[in-house]
Amino acid sequence: MTAVATPLLGAADWLSEPLPWQGRRLIGSLERAGLTGRGGAGFPTWRKVAAVAVGHRPVVIGNGAEGEPASAKDRTLLTTVPHLVLDGLQLAAEAVGAVDCYLYLPGPVTGHITRAMAERAGRDRFAVTLVPAPDTFIAGEESAVIAAVAGGRALPTDKVGLVVESGLRGRPTLVQNVETLARMALIARYGPDLFRGHGGFLSTVSGAVVAPGVYEAPQGIPIGHLLELAGGPATALAAVLVGGYHGTWLPIADAVSAPMSAAGLAPFGATPGAGVLYALPTALCGLVETARITDYLAQQSAKQCGPCRNGLPAMADTLRRLADRERDGRLPDHVARLAALVANRGACHHPDGVVRMVRSAMRVFATEIDAHLAGRCSTMEGR
């Protein structure tokens, strides 16, 4: 169950193999392979590539920004197999007939990529411009990426059209996560059939596991198996946050058998997102963790949109009071009211992601909420 037909990590020196140029034929391969975006949204890659390919003077942007604190897979990929990512970027540029090609990167990995680009002199057909990505949660959001590449601040912008039709300076733009690019390079090299059904994904597993880190596994692997890849639980677990800080809390009893795939997680109202798992031990209070994460996310708001700028700090403050066992029975309703107020109201989906995570916490930690409102906490029992 843990075998991936075409793994990304621990693979050979890609530089010694020729680039499998194939033009637009790659689009059909991507469709057959069933590759979906690995930045979090999970959109079918071939659809985006095909939409950009029919446009005039297209742009390709490789997105290496990884603002999610619980994710490390993109920087792992960029530092261990930079040539596979750069091959994918070249092939994507060729598939859409790109005129300009960018790679958007956090500072710490830029040195690796600059060295890799020097090593591959003469290999590429498209010149790649590196653009620095700031270390903020929303820096990797598609419209923020485009704003940064255009020379502005990495902040989300109002969406009036589709980026694939009108993105960077009004041109058709393909923004693709770096893991997606690396998978594209593998599909180009080995064909789509090996990927289909055996497609791998990178997962960052952290929290109370023996060996936190980045692991590669087949899509649909039960979350329990993924935790075992990371050495297994370090102590008794209470819940798992699936999909990152914008993700969904699952009680451990549901999580162990839940398949890590879009279809497998749908019944739980969850998605794999960018493959992030955070294991919560029974010794930590889920409400305290939720308050901490919400506070971080409120601070990471771009503070451009009123509902997000006002609503997220209010939600974080209410959750903090709940976590602190303030005996005010109105607090859960207040959280629910604030969640309804910020959902769907912003230029980007940051408020929606926070709402998804907070609502799941209110469901999964319902017993803990009752205890807190009575001045108790499960993590303090027996002390």
Binding site: P156, T157, D158, V160, Q304, C305, G306, P307, C308, N310, G311, A340, L341, N344, R345, G346, A347
Partner: protein, 66 residues
């Protein structure tokens, strides 16, 4: 038609919520709150002219009909 709100431009002046309260209520901070709960609220045909006025009078030019 649907009403699009540019949240990065809107600063909650309240003109729109006064002109088309059937479409946009006001949240506790003064920002427009689509009554139907959607991202881009549907504008009924009989409110289209009022909505066009709301679009034109928005001091932040944050609204558009589409």
């Amino acid at each position: 038609m649907k009403l699009h709100i540019d949240w990065t431009a809107c600063d909650g002046r309240g003109t729109c919520t006064e002109l088309i309260p059937e479409v946009l209520a006001q949240d506790p901070w003064g920002y427009p709150l689509p009554v139907d709960g959607s991202r881009q609220p549907e504008v009924p045909p009989d409110l289209e002219s009022f909505t066009r006025r709301a679009v034109a009078y928005c001091p932040r030019l944050a609204l558009r009909l589409r």
